[in-house]
């Protein structure tokens, strides 16, 4: 295989690795809440949306035969109270008392998580760099080959 192709291939693989190693949107967040809960209490602090995602992600046996739903919901309510402050609920419409609705409202629906954006950028840059390097090497090789072959008929 030629050097430029190898270079391009290597940079593309590196770019892919960076892209796929980026955390999938939401999953580790929900996993972290559930893992935190396993001692019966959610001690850490997470984005409000993580608590709702954790409840959705609970395995069936945990949902039916444990207090996980109640415990995580309670932790979500406490987290919302913390983020909003002591007087923030005064005068708000009744619908936002629902902690799950509040968590949904707190998360912009179309925004990608920051980690995913940065990973995509880095991966894209790596691929472009690989293409550029390969192009440069190809140009150099063409010039060298042209110098060595010379005019036809010399031999």
């Amino acid at each position: 295989m030629t050097k430029p192709v190898v270079t391009m291939a290597l940079c593309s693989i590196l770019g892919l690795l960076v892209a796929t190693s980026a955390p999938a949107a939401g999953r580790p967040c929900a996993d972290a809440v559930i893992t935190d809960w396993t001692d019966g209490r959610v001690d850490g602090r997470y984005r409000p949306a993580c608590y709702a995602e954790a409840i959705d992600a609970l395995p069936e046996d945990v949902r039916a035969y444990s207090t996980a739903v109640d415990d995580i919901s309670r932790a979500l309510r406490e987290r919302i109270r913390e983020t909003r402050g002591p007087d923030s609920t005064a005068g708000e419409p009744a619908s936002s008392d629902d902690p799950l609705l509040a968590a949904a409202e707190a998360t912009p629906s179309d925004a990608l998580p920051a980690a995913l954006v940065w990973s995509a950028l880095v991966a894209g840059l790596l691929v472009l760099a690989g293409i550029a390097l390969a192009a440069i090497q190809l140009l150099r090789r063409t010039r060298v080959t042209h110098r060595h072959t010379g005019p036809v008929g010399q031999w």
């Binding site: 559930i34 893992t35 809960w37 396993t38 001692d39 019966g40 609970l58 395995p59 069936e60 046996d61 945990v62 949902r63 039916a64 035969y65 444990s66 207090t67 996980a68 739903v69």
Partner: protein, 413 residues
């Protein structure tokens, strides 16, 4: 160190220790006779088996009370129930699940629309298996996943009382348990405390109240401690609450604990406890129900772990068939019953076989198990109590010479 061998337990309680694992009984390795033989070697005394009405009677039978009606399909049930009988294993049958033709085309968890349809099926089952004396009606009806509408009145009027009347009429010496509650209400359900009271208000007829006292915070709760004092849940740590409610609402009736267990991690990383802790709890819970009044049976849920992560992993074997510490712990449960200064009293049972059984104590010293004290003899049910005097820390186990097997090790002192 002084060892005193106490006399066998003065009174023999009625509690029976058993298992439930429908999938393993139906589809497990080997023949049904081999599987039941394995249960005997484990020391299992009673097996709970669930019959799905919606699977046996997918089509409406012409004569619903006749078990030979062509609409009935007993192919998965017959080998298990007859195999249990052939191998002299006591059986508790649970009937659950409504066929679509009996509830207006709905899912299995919707109650039948008529009071007669369930009673007719009970009649058919009891005629097909007339030797079965212990029955439980439905499964966890206080949760929406198992019964809708989720009310005590629907359960009593359309399921429990019709079944109770039918069984009383057809089976001599029958004992019927109702309630069958899960330890908590779940979403849209009814708490077990409210369920027991609701059953009484609806005029429930039963010989025993059945409940599933799973731990709801398994990493915090033991079979004795960790109960929620202000909740309407009932776990094993809250057994006193169940006894109180049954005495208050169903005076003179017994208690059957028809499902229980701790899952292990691995593989269940959310609810599982370490395998050694699961094993230790077998001894602890065995004594819990032994000393509790009214309790006639304790059924461990699962023999072999479910391979699906969202399933249950509270068995004696992993999903690939490897024995966990729980296997030894179920066969030879042992626990510390009391401590006083340098004296420790152990309580336990040698479960396999019948009649008085021999046992001895061994201590782990310099890399080997060494016997100490004499050979003890259990009571007729295999129970024993023994007092150990400690001069230093000890790791001990109970050894059954006849079974050539030891209990899980206990650290004393």
């Amino acid at each position: 160190m002084v060892l005193a061998l106490a006399s066998p337990a003065a009174a023999t309680p009625q509690v029976r220790y058993g298992v439930q694992d429908d999938a393993w009984l139906i589809y497990g390795p080997g023949s049904i006779d081999e599987r039941v033989g394995k249960l005997h070697r484990l020391g299992v005394e009673i097996v709970r088996f669930q019959i799905r009405w919606d699977e046996v009677a997918r089509r409406r039978p012409r004569n619903a009370r006749n078990h030979r009606d062509r609409a009935y399909d007993w192919r998965l049930v017959d080998p298990v129930v007859r195999g249990l009988r052939r191998n002299r294993m006591e059986t508790v049958l649970t009937i659950v699940g409504t066929p679509r033709w009996a509830n207006g085309g709905r899912r299995y968890n919707w109650a039948p629309t008529s009071r007669r349809s369930f009673a007719n099926f009970i009649a058919a089952v009891s005629r097909r298996y007339p030797w079965v004396r212990k029955w439980t009606i439905w499964n966890e009806p206080n949760q929406r996943d198992w019964l809708r509408p989720t009310t005590a009145r629907v359960y009593v009027e359309r399921l429990l009382n019709p079944a109770y009347a039918e069984l009383r009429r057809t089976v001599r010496g029958v004992r019927v348990a109702g309630g069958m509650s899960a330890p908590r209400a779940g979403s849209g359900g009814v708490s077990p405390v409210a369920w027991i009271r609701g059953l009484r208000a609806a005029g429930a007829r039963l010989d025993a109240y059945a409940h599933h006292p799973y731990p709801l915070r398994p990493r915090l709760e033991t079979p004795w401690r960790g109960a929620c004092r202000v909740c309407a849940t009932i776990t094993m740590a809250e057994l006193d609450r169940l006894i109180r409610e049954v005495r208050r609402n169903f005076r003179g009736k017994r208690i059957w604990l028809t499902e229980y267990g701790y899952q292990t991690n691995p593989p269940d990383r959310f609810l599982g406890v370490r395998p050694r802790l699961q094993a230790r709890y077998f001894g602890s819970v065995a004594r819990r129900v032994y000393v509790a009044p009214l309790v006639d049976m304790l059924i461990n849920f699962m023999v072999r772990d479910d391979p699906a992560p969202s399933g249950w992993q509270s068995g004696f074997f992993t999903s690939s068939g490897q024995a966990k510490l729980a296997y030894r712990a179920f066969r030879l449960p042992v626990t510390v019953a009391a401590r006083r200064g340098r004296t420790v009293r152990l309580w336990g049972q040698i479960r396999p076989r019948a009649g008085a059984r021999l046992y001895r104590l061994e201590r782990f010293e310099r890399g080997r198990w060494r016997r100490f004290g004499g050979v003890g003899r259990t009571d007729a049910r295999g129970f024993f109590r023994v007092t150990v005097g400690l001069k230093r820390r000890l790791v001990v186990r109970v050894w059954s010479p006849r079974d050539r097997a030891g209990s899980v090790a206990l650290r004393l002192g």
